[in-house]
């Protein structure tokens, strides 16, 4: 993780647009490892804040989102008056806020109101969110980002929760899992976004399983079985039925089970074995056993999965926010 913090290899060029996301993986990864002392928190805070677009007034006719950019390649000088250069992005904003939370930045220094109110501009009539004001794909990932941002800012004026929930409900597939958009095949990552967002918005009570089977906005029984069936014979988790296991789904799907209070039902030893077989000699994790080389994305999610498994020496995660439990408490 420290190696990645210093310099990413050239192969990551094509990931430049997601610099802030890469930083999130590294910082959160170090936090899980209890190694946050290896970074200069002030430096990181300054760098993250340099991606903030600016505060703005939300008024009719101005559909800007005043959040964080993901990269210098989408960020243009503030003296540019043409607002169409504002490419601040919902996912980057989530990553920025998560990093700031982790390093203990004082959120009262942020113009939360501007971020939240302008975020409403990104919500679509069907409840979904686009990530960027000039238009892009819309799907569950950004509903999740909006919910996580609202939760971290402790300000829900940026989203219509009911509409967002309506959209999530439409994404539940006939088999109990959730697709990224209504009609899509159920998928581990999409299911995490759906369930975590519902949890953050208060539509799923934590530890659903230990309570009596009350009603819920989504079909939890089917969801539960779908999620549990994602653990394959090799112990790893797959993202969709009849597909190969992949390290990252250990986080996405086990995260879902954790939120439902059902992670007691998975085979922890088998998962642990699988994850260990994906660990590379350089310390990162690969997508599946034997697939070189390790990458930052799978390394972070492998680590996060170990945290969910209660691996000694790793910090606990506040799974629905994707940050450690301790940093989540520092509001």
């Amino acid at each position: 993780m420290e190696m990645m913090l210093e310099l990413l290899p050239s192969e990551y060029e094509s990931q430049e647009i997601n610099r802030l996301t890469l930083a999130y993986f590294v910082v959160c990864g170090l936090d899980i490892l209890g190694a946050l002392d290896r970074i200069d928190k002030d430096q990181v805070a300054r760098w993250v804040l340099s991606f903030y677009s600016r505060s703005g007034t939300v008024e009719p006719g101005n559909c800007q989102f005043y959040g964080f950019h993901g990269s210098r390649t989408s960020q243009y000088p503030l003296d540019k008056q043409d607002l169409s250069f504002n490419a601040s992005h919902l996912a980057s904003t989530y990553c920025a806020l998560a990093i700031l939370k982790i390093i203990g930045y004082d959120f009262s220094n942020l113009d939360s109101n501007s971020i939240s109110l302008s975020m409403k501009n990104l919500q679509q009539p069907d409840g979904s969110f686009i990530p960027i004001h000039f238009g892009a794909e819309r799907d569950l990932r950004f509903v999740y980002c909006a919910a996580a941002i609202s939760s971290m800012l402790n300000d829900w004026c940026g989203m219509d929760k009911e509409k967002a929930t309506d959209y999530i409900i439409k994404c539940q597939s006939y088999d109990g899992g959730f697709g990224l958009v209504p009609g899509s095949e159920s998928h581990g990552g999409a299911t995490y976004c759906a369930v975590a967002a519902l949890q953050l918005m208060g539509y799923i009570k934590a530890n659903y399983i230990s309570r009596s089977t009350g009603s819920s906005v989504v079909n939890v029984a089917a969801l539960l079985e779908w999620a549990l069936q994602r653990q394959a014979a090799d112990g790893g988790f797959q993202g969709r039925p009849n597909k190969a296991s992949d390290t990252c789904y250990a986080f996405w799907v086990v995260g879902v089970l954790r939120i439902l209070g059902a992670d007691q039902f998975l085979d922890k030893d088998a998962l642990r074995s699988f994850l260990l077989s994906c660990q590379s000699e350089y310390g990162g994790f690969t997508k599946f056993p034997g697939s070189p080389p390790p990458d930052l994305y799978h390394s972070y999610y492998g680590l996060a999965a170990f945290s969910l498994l209660g691996e000694p020496g790793l910090a606990q995660l506040q799974v629905e926010l994707g940050i450690t439990a301790l940093s989540g408490a520092l509001t």
Binding site: L7, Y174, D175
Partner: protein
């Protein structure tokens, strides 16, 4: 567009670019996770910044965005600028679809590419439906579970049309690979959304038969089991009424050693009030008996889950 075979010529040496001053990236004093950019990447992005700041919507901007996209296909700012340039030049949209096809050869698992494709197709309207269905078919021929391709295909059907052959297409893919969950999902999508078929209600009867056939061939295949259950979504009453469902469960429980999904569906039926017939009743008694715990041994990875489900079962009605 630069290719690996030709030697890339830096912009600084290209005629027609002399008037452009490249804008270097300002990473700030202490950047986190800096990337070791190669020279080509750096220069292309420096020139991109120059044209983007100037908001120059020209032919050479179109060329530049093509190169920038090739290096950095996830960069939504570049794609967005390209769209502005296309609009300004009133550029050939069919040619644009070809451009996207070319980019997809290198890496098609990229949201921006598909969003751009959708934007172009939307502008072209229903006439582009066939081309889009062909394009996604081509991608799916290489990877029959390609998530983006399936999403795009669903969008095309709903927005531009072309439903006529879709059920056949699903059947063909399932012939190729009955385990292809994406194809099962698409099948469900077609029967529920196609304006030509009448919805799940109208299709349920024949689809139950289709699913059961697939189950009989491969009881360990999760997809047809979920599909079968999904056909009765919101209609548990019809689920327990359709004798074929409980029959299918019984058959698998008796004759196969791949029994997990049959069991799961059976538990589901019982929870919804199924009154099991004689033969099924015996099976159920065996399963719930304390002496034998076949559920847990059938699927040891999830043994605690099955134990929990069993404990949540309503008591069986008295034998009449």
């Amino acid at each position: 567009m630069s290719s690996d075979e030709e030697e890339w010529v830096p912009f600084s040496r290209r005629p027609g670019w002399r008037d452009v001053t490249p804008v270097p990236q300002d990473d700030g004093p202490n950047p986190v996770v800096p990337i070791a950019y190669r020279e080509e990447f750096r220069e292309i992005m420096d020139y991109f910044r120059a044209l983007y700041f100037a908001d120059e919507r020209s032919r050479r901007s179109l060329e530049l965005t093509a190169e920038a996209i090739d290096k950095n296909p996830g960069n939504y700012t570049v794609w967005h600028f390209r769209r502005r340039v296309i609009d300004a030049l009133n550029a050939d949209l069919c040619g644009e679809l070809d451009f996207v096809s070319l980019i997809s050869l290198k890496n098609s698992k990229n949201y921006q590419l598909w969003h751009h494709r959708r934007w172009v197709a939307e502008k072209l309207g229903p006439d582009s439906a066939n081309k889009e269905l062909e394009f996604t078919k081509m991608i799916l021929a290489r990877d029959a579970k390609h998530y983006h391709a399936w999403s795009h295909r669903q969008w095309v059907l709903q927005s531009l049309g072309g439903w006529e052959d879709e059920l056949d297409y699903c059947a063909q893919l399932l012939d190729d690979d009955i385990f292809n969950n994406s194809a099962w999902n698409q099948r469900y999508f077609v029967i529920s959304k196609s304006p030509l078929l009448g919805g799940v209600q109208a299709m349920r009867d024949s689809e139950v038969g289709y699913a059961i056939e697939a189950i009989a061939a491969n009881p360990e295949n999760e997809s047809p089991w979920r599909y079968l259950r999904g056909l009765f979504k919101g209609h548990a009453d019809l689920l327990i009424e359709d004798g074929r469902v409980s029959e299918a469960c019984l058959k698998v429980l008796k004759t196969s050693n791949q029994r997990v999904f049959a069991l799961s569906l059976l538990l589901d039926l019982l929870c919804h009030g199924l009154q099991p017939r004689e033969e099924l009743r015996e099976v159920v008694q065996r399963l719930s008996s304390e002496m034998e715990l076949p559920v847990e041994t059938m699927d040891p990875m999830r043994s605690s889950y099955w134990a929990w489900r069993k404990s949540n079962l309503l008591p069986l009605p008295e034998a009449s």
